[in-house]
Symmetry: C2
Subunit: 368 residues, 2 copies
DNA sequence: TTGTAGGCGTTATCAA
DNA sequence: TTGATAACGCCTACAA
């Protein structure tokens, strides 16, 4: 066997054709005779030839690589299975495409580092576009990418109408969840949501408020806590809330399942029963919720799909640069199990952006 | 302000110098007059000029990008804080260098996909080298990279002497841990280790056997279980072990803290007290171990450092291509807390490749 | 269907 | 210290 050969030129010589022909074969151009193609392919595989990426992108002005940018705000909660599923979905969608997905993680140590990555990876065109995992309000990268007219898609809603994003409708999902609790007859429903600077936190909180208002209630500030999307943070938040509230809540809406597990723990440690003393509704629909005690009622969102859809949207964008902005909402559904007080599980009741929610669980007798 | 300009050439024209000079400025070549440098830098920043990555790598034959390859075997346990720390360490080390670190995740769906990534990312020279997170025995990628003479470093020991790696000495660490349990007087010490095809699992198991043998014991097959490095897997493994064993163990060595938390749970669910009925020794030194009940004695390994050191080793390799193979072992130490039966915590007793272990905890009266 | 030739934006080697 | 001038390896009209 030959020593591995490295250039188009050499392959061309060996196959007795011109560089163009080899290039056409490599790129699947149909305008090549079967005979020539065969010969070229034989030589290519014999020489283990792989086209040089740099030369290719220099000539074609694209890399066929897309980046998944994980911003520092996310880094701290990366252990949440939520992100694993999201990333997994994105990676899978990348595999199913002609692009290669590469992940860029920012630590947030210094703005200088973020700058360097931005320049050397994005502006220098190492990637054709990026999918961004950051739901921080006013993340500066958004303005920057817009300014540079660089293709990107956000996973997580963004208010600016020209920004492409995929998400679920967090506000309406939260409304649905809290409405369900209200139907149980709970009167003091609290909320533990994420950081106040994340859009998802804000939207879920807004949905909570909305549900209460539709029922003619007002949210009690003593029952509202912004936490950090971690189990431990939620544990502390819940303990604190119980200490502080003059009258304890009879139900809690928790903005992530991971936090909900911390809440369940806190309630247990305080000797409170779920759902008899305090009902709990989570958010995300993680498998982990199934092994909680009692099993967690939650809002199921298609996390892997969200990641995959982000990648797909970016690819659409790259291939049709001047189509309309992409604002894609994926369906969610209420996943009724035990922690909300229902006696019968029900995963059939669903909601989506078009339909609206229709919860149809069998109601427990309200509070115990 | 000008519209953003894109090429060296234009900058050269605007600054009234040649392309070469601009290139020198961009690359920090000292052979440029202060005046010229100043002028060029002014134009560059005015035009927001960023050099084109493809052109650069084509001409210089390197990309200044390194890849962190996460193999499919790891993907399933990515939620383990162990990997987050490892990745975080690697990313930080990347930030501190002149390279950009990009993460490649494989899902293991199809060999075709792995192939594609290998060709398009590695062989096509999109990255200068890779750090690999895979400790599966005989991972085919190793042979492949060797065959292609592509620079890489493994995080996790590899038997082949030309393979570069960084790790801790898992075998000796496990020996130290089990020796500690033996000193407590436990007589039926079991082990739950990771998958049988991972080097770390094997090494930790070997260390366990070694410690027993040094004490004149033989391992009891009924007390040995290969699990999967997950909490849930270890929970099941422990429950199963308790069901199966004619006589229960009085101590367990568990090959990861995440698994240890599952073991603690299983013991609790069976009504067994830790450490009175069964002592437990973990592995990793995660913060999570501190919130377990009782707090977990474990083997502390410098996880972030391991990730960082992998990146540093790769960079050394890239800059001194023909230095000797890198086989770097980082220090570990026994982290004595409560679950092993000690009455007094002690994080001072340490061990490292040079020194060997010197456990100096205050011994409890053995078994309760 | 095939080949020719120019260019993609840098770096690197010389010579000045 | 500077500036020409070749590469670098591939793509892509355009012409044949």
């Amino acid at each position: 066997m030959e020593p591995d050969v490295t250039t188009l030129e050499e392959i061309a010589t060996l196959a007795g054709v011109s560089r163009s022909t080899v290039s056409r074969v490599v790129n699947g151009d149909p305008r090549v005779s079967a005979a020539a193609r065969e010969r070229v392919e034989a030589v290519i595989s014999e020489c283990h030839y792989v086209p040089n990426a740099a030369a290719r992108s220099l000539a074609s002005r694209r890399t066929r690589i897309i980046g998944l940018l994980i911003s520092p705000s996310v880094g701290v909660i990366l252990t949440d299975p939520f992100f694993n599923q999201l990333i997994e979905g994105a990676v899978r969608a990348g595999n199913d495409s002609d692009y290669i997905l590469t992940i860029l993680m920012e630590t947030g140590d210094s703005p200088h580092t973020a700058d360097r990555i931005y320049q050397r990876f994005i502006r220098s065109r190492h990637v054709d576009g990026v999918v961004i995992l950051s739901s921080v309000v006013e993340d500066p990268i958004v303005a920057r990418l817009q300014g540079d007219n660089f293709p990107f898609v956000l996973i997580g809603r963004h208010p600016h109408h020209t920004v492409n994003f995929v998400d679920i409708d967090n506000r309406s999902a939260a409304t649905t969840a809290v409405a369900h609790l209200l139907q149980h007859g709970y009167r003091r429903i609290g909320i533990i949501t994420g950081p106040a600077n994340m859009i998802a936190s804000i939207d879920r909180y807004a949905g909570y408020v909305n549900a209460l208002q539709e029922a003619g209630r007002v949210p009690d500030p003593a029952l509202t806590v912004y936490s950090d999307f971690t189990r431990r943070g939620a544990y502390r938040a819940m303990s604190h809330l119980l200490d502080r509230a003059s009258e304890p809540p009879d139900a809690m809406f928790v903005a992530s399942d991971t936090m909900a597990s911390g809440v369940l723990q806190a309630l247990r440690d305080q000797g409170l029963r779920v759902p008899e003393d305090v009902a709990v509704m989570g958010f995300d629909g993680l498998d982990e919720a199934l092994v909680s005690q009692p099993i967690l009622s939650t809002v199921f969102q298609p996390i892997r799909e969200l990641g995959a859809e982000g990648v797909r949207a970016l690819i659409e964008l790259l291939e049709h640069p001047d189509s309309a902005p992409i604002h894609r909402f994926l369906p969610y559904r209420l996943q009724i199990r035990r922690s909300c007080g229902c006696v019968e599980e029900n995963s059939a009741c669903s909601a989506n952006p078009e339909g609206g929610a229709a919860a149809s669980a069998s109601w427990a007798r309200g509070r115990a």
